[in-house]
Amino acid sequence: MREETLVKNLVRYKGVLSGMLTALAGDPETADDLFQEVAVVMTRKREQADEDCRFVAWARSIALNVVRDFRKKQARRRVRLLDEETLEAVALSFEEVEDAVWDLRRQALRTCAQELPDRDRTVLMRRYEEDVPIEELAEGMDMTRGAMDTWLYRIRKALHQCVGSRLQKSGIS
């Protein structure tokens, strides 16, 4: 694969790859680190990939290897990673969704995020953009960790339902 093609594909599929690594790693900050590692490996191995290869499939195989390496290095890691069989099944599920559906999902998510109350949006930003731990968020808002976790869960669910509803109206199930 030519360098230009790799760059274009990384840009094109960044969202899907980030989502895949988030699903596999189960931790936003780890997913960020793994994303960069995957990109480095792809850069190193780009000549082994055909110009018109199925990029997400290639990315999936590399992502799984990177996550496996990470698991070995982090054997005593506090966060529990999914087992091998589940990791493979989850990674594969990203290939089963059409690229265009991911694009539409992102558009719908943008709209749904805009519609969130300011307070919810602020909490989401602090947690997922600024990586503030739940405990710290809870302390800053004078609430328990459990209450903050429940709040984040409800926002996540509300967003998912909002996006699902919008996609359904577009004819995507």
């Binding site: 990384l10 960069q36 850069t43 999914l82 694009d103 984040l152 996006v163």
Partner: protein, 176 residues
């Protein structure tokens, strides 16, 4: 709320207990819908990190093209995420806080939203030639791109510096 929703949430927060992890694994292995739900929620979480960037993050809401400012978290995070394609002279930028449109009322979702990555000729940016671009080296390069000295780098300035244009938007899906 279903059990699997709650388990997926805890997984994506890195908070699963051993028993919860086993329960989630069992569901994910045997239930394609559960896998699809995890994929969607993980995708959403990853996208939110870009979609939630506030209006003062260095991306001007009304700018015709994305603009970066040297003092913003976005800019610094992007600079820190430089990935060198070693030996090729190219550098790829992509990061969770890449320039993204703010969640402002003026945002027009139907327009091309942002260009999360560009390729740059790194020659000259990596001043000490160690294969890495430090914050200082990036700051120096920024000044070179910011030819009008307004503290922002516009698409025009990037173009004038020889930066490749962003890729075209993907073809939209026809729901019919």
């Amino acid at each position: 709320m279903s059990d699997v929703d709650a388990l997926i949430h805890r997984h994506l927060e890195g908070a699963l207990t051993e028993a919860e992890a086993r329960a989630l694994e069992e569901r994910l292995r045997g239930d394609p819908e559960a896998r699809r739900l995890l994929a969607e929620m993980a995708f959403d979480q990853a996208q939110l990190r870009e979609l939630l960037v506030p209006a003062d993050s260095g991306v001007a809401a009304d700018a015709p093209a994305a603009r970066w400012t040297s003092g913003s978290k976005t800019f610094l995070a992007t600079a820190a995420a430089l990935l060198l394609a070693v030996g090729t002279g190219l550098v790829v930028l992509f990061t969770r806080t890449a320039p993204a449109p703010p969640l402002a009322p003026a945002t027009r979702p139907s327009e091309p939203a942002h260009h999360p990555a560009v390729s740059l000729d790194v020659e000259g940016m990596d001043a000490d030639g160690d294969g890495r671009v430090t914050r200082d080296e990036w700051a120096t390069a920024f000044k070179r791109f910011d030819t009008d000295g307004d503290g922002q780098v516009s698409a025009q300035e990037l173009s004038a510096a020889g930066v490749a244009p962003p890729p075209p938007r993907p073809k939209r899906h026809d729901p019919r």
